[in-house]
């Protein structure tokens, strides 16, 4: 065999040249991600020179950060954080029972059909989905007209362009991203595991709390991060459904570049947004780790009992429930 005759290539193996593989991607990220972001950081220390200038870095200061974090702009940061936190929480509250139902109660035959249905909205452009809500919530739209005919609201009532509409829109748009990881985590909950818990005298609530929830915890943390990050930067959902009431940081930043031509202020807002998002993710991660540890500690009990039960079954002895 000729292959046998060939001398072995340099002993470095595939690992040797693999660093080279990172070069094109590394350059790409450097040129189109790192440098532009650094330029924005640089702009953020500058100022707006005049009506027709976009940025000027001849005098460097932190004043733009002061502006970004003062008065009405600070309110927008708070507002965005509020919408994102409440939106993420509502997603969790809907996704946990829904995923539980899907993973545990729905027969396997239908389970994946339902999951596919959950994903269907995700295959539609998110702007189009949001426009569907805009039609539904408009003062002359089906929902409002129905409510008006039922005499529940007056002619001036409008759900569109309120904070409630924004909240509804973001929950809608990000819900599948929460359901998916939680479902995946809960699916591990085999009937045997629940039976074991039940046999050991745990009530339904006890089983849910001590078995189901700990298993779902990583999924919940994953979902929270998956929903929270894009939500912090999203402003289109809010703009479409909230009008002036849906002013989020993203829109404020866009405005500084698209209308105000105040690149310095817009940049300072951008850097602040990155920092807030990073901080929030670290915080969620930390909370997730702590909660996970607590839940794991609690879970140990039923699992030990299950093990004891198994041993008992084998040896034919009774185990007190």
């Amino acid at each position: 065999m000729s292959r046998m005759a060939r001398t072995r290539t340099s002993g470095r193996g595939p690992r040797g040249s693999s660093t080279l593989l990172a070069v094109p991607g590394g350059i790409w990220m450097l040129v189109f991600f790192i440098v532009p972001i650094l330029v924005v950081v640089w702009y953020s220390f500058g100022q707006k020179p005049g009506l027709y200038g976009t940025h000027d870095n001849s005098v460097l200061s932190l004043d733009r950060y002061g502006e970004a974090l003062s008065g009405a702009f600070l309110l927008t940061f708070a507002n965005t954080l509020q919408i994102a936190v409440i939106g993420t929480l509502i997603c969790v509250l809907i996704a946990v029972p829904f995923s539980y139902w899907l993973a545990v109660k729905v027969t396997p035959k239908w389970r994946y059909v339902v999951l596919a249905l959950v994903l269907v909205p995700y295959w539609t452009n998110f702007l189009i989905r949001t426009l569907g809500w805009q039609i539904l919530l408009a003062p002359e739209g089906p929902v409002t007209v129905l409510l008006r005919q039922l005499g529940l609201v007056d002619a001036a009532f409008s759900m569109l362009y309120t904070k409630g509409a924004v909240q509804l829109g973001v929950v809608y748009n990000y819900l599948p991203l929460m359901i998916l990881p939680i479902f995946v985590a809960m699916e591990r909950l085999t009937p045997a595991l629940r039976e074991a818990s039940k046999d050991l005298g745990a009530g339904r609530w006890g089983t849910f709390r001590q078995v189901t929830l700990p298993l779902a915890a990583p999924g919940i943390v994953g979902g929270v991060v998956l929903v929270f990050i894009p939500l912090m930067g999203d402003y289109i959902t809010a703009q479409v459904l909230g009008g002036a009431k849906g002013n989020m940081v993203g829109q404020m930043i866009a405005g500084q570049f698209q209308q105000g031509q105040n690149w310095a202020l817009g940049s300072a807002m951008s850097v602040t947004l990155i920092l807030i998002t990073l901080l929030s993710v670290v915080l969620v991660g930390a909370v997730g780790i702590v909660c996970g540890a607590i839940l794991r500690a609690r879970r140990r009990l039923p699992i030990e009992r299950t093990a004891a039960a198994a041993t008992a079954a084998r040896t034919g002895t009774e185990v007190p429930a």
């Binding site: 009506l51 002036a244 209308q259």
Partner: protein
């Protein structure tokens, strides 16, 4: 269980493999569908066919929303593609940021913005001899203060600013800017939209108080800030420069601060036009002119001149006014429309008494302050 797979933050550690397959299938389906669609789309769709394509040959206009009668656009043989903006500030921001690569040939700046745009090298000088139809325009509309020799611009439309309201929600009669402010704070609170234009928004209080709409007085500017940010913002539900195509016909707002043509278009599109009332408020209001201008570095200059000249034609001017709802300064077109008894003509051409109450502002050093005030107002409106 391998603990290092995929973005850890994105996936619950335990079931990454399944998640990956799901993503895969989500992707498969999405990708397949769109590729199939791509295959179905006619070639012209990608090549840039009539009036829309990406080819460098298409002449491009960056304009206010719905600013040309569709028949005029269709009837212009060389083809024209039109994008829209909400304010002069937005248009200027785009031109400045693109630094000559915006790709637009024509923009429609409001008169008062022209001197600074010219000074900042955003506009080409016009060769008026190439505009044969300029003779159609009444002398009164030429050589205005912002461009005395029409070096950079020729007029496209003139109009004014007021508000329209839904009489089902606001049952009393509104006539003044004070009435507008009062209704916005009461019956129409949370259902009031303002034109997305810093100058127009700041001018509301000026008109109501009888101050110069372009005031540079610091005390007045401070009062405008307090009024807009602390008093009015909380009642505003949208900043919308094109309520004529959505908010008015769909009834999604009850009180709409806008321009006369925009309001007229909305009322005409409404299924119940009688529900809406247009007000040219007392005591004062704006008189503005939007103008044709060629962008510095335009690639399709010949077609740009051709389109401007074509639009200044009598037939086109009549169509434009009828559709867009603003006067063109072409007297013959006005007479033709009056003879044909075009709908809501009174909204297009204010009476002499009303014209007495209109005046033109200017762009001065306080414009930056006005933009900041409105940015702050928008932040407060959403809070």
């Amino acid at each position: 269980m391998t603990e290092h797979r995929i973005p850890k933050i994105l996936v619950p550690r335990s079931r990454e493999a399944e998640f990956t397959r799901r993503l895969f299938l989500t992707g498969v389906v999405g990708a397949g569908a769109t590729l199939a669609l791509a295959a179905c789309a006619p070639d012209g769709a990608n090549g840039g066919g009539s009036g829309s394509g990406g080819g460098s040959g298409t002449m491009r206009v960056y304009s206010w929303s719905g600013y040309d009668a569709p028949e005029n656009v269709k009837g212009f043989a060389p083809g024209v593609a039109i994008d829209s903006y909400s304010s002069n500030e937005e248009m200027i921001a785009k031109l400045v940021a693109a630094r000559g690569t915006s790709g637009y040939d024509i923009v429609i700046p409001t008169g008062v913005f022209v001197p600074q745009m010219a000074e900042n090298q955003l506009l080409e000088k016009l060769d008026l001899s190439r505009l044969k139809n300029l003779g159609n325009v009444d002398a009164a509309f030429l050589g205005q203060a912002w461009d005395p020799d029409n070096t950079y611009t020729v007029p496209k439309y003139w109009g004014t600013t007021g508000f329209a309201y839904d009489t089902r929600v606001i049952t009393r009669e509104l006539v003044s800017w004070d009435d507008f402010i009062d209704a916005a704070k009461n019956e129409a609170s949370g259902r009031t939209s303002l034109a997305d234009d810093p100058g127009e928004i700041c001018a509301i209080l000026c008109f109501a108080r009888g101050w110069d709409q372009s005031t540079q007085d610091e005390g007045e500017l401070a009062k405008i800030r307090t009024f807009l940010v602390d008093e009015l913002a909380q009642h505003i539900s949208a900043f919308d420069s094109a309520p004529g195509s959505g908010a008015i016909p769909q009834g999604s707002q009850a009180l709409v601060h806008t321009w006369n043509g925009e309001a007229r278009r909305g009322i005409m599109a409404s299924s119940e036009p009688d529900r809406w009332k247009w007000v040219l408020p007392t005591p004062d209001t704006n008189l503005w002119t939007d103008n044709w201008a060629i962008v510095k570095g335009a690639k399709n200059v010949d077609a740009a001149y051709e389109f401007i000249d074509y639009s200044l034609g009598l037939e086109q001017a009549v169509r434009n006014t009828e559709y867009v709802g603003y006067g063109t300064g072409i007297g013959a077109a006005e007479a033709q429309l009056a003879a044909a008894d075009a709908p809501l003509l009174g909204m297009i051409f204010p009476s002499e008494e009303e014209k007495q109450r209109m005046y033109t502002g200017q762009i001065n050093a306080a414009q930056q302050t006005r933009m900041e005030i409105v940015a702050e107002m928008k932040a407060r409106a959403g809070a």
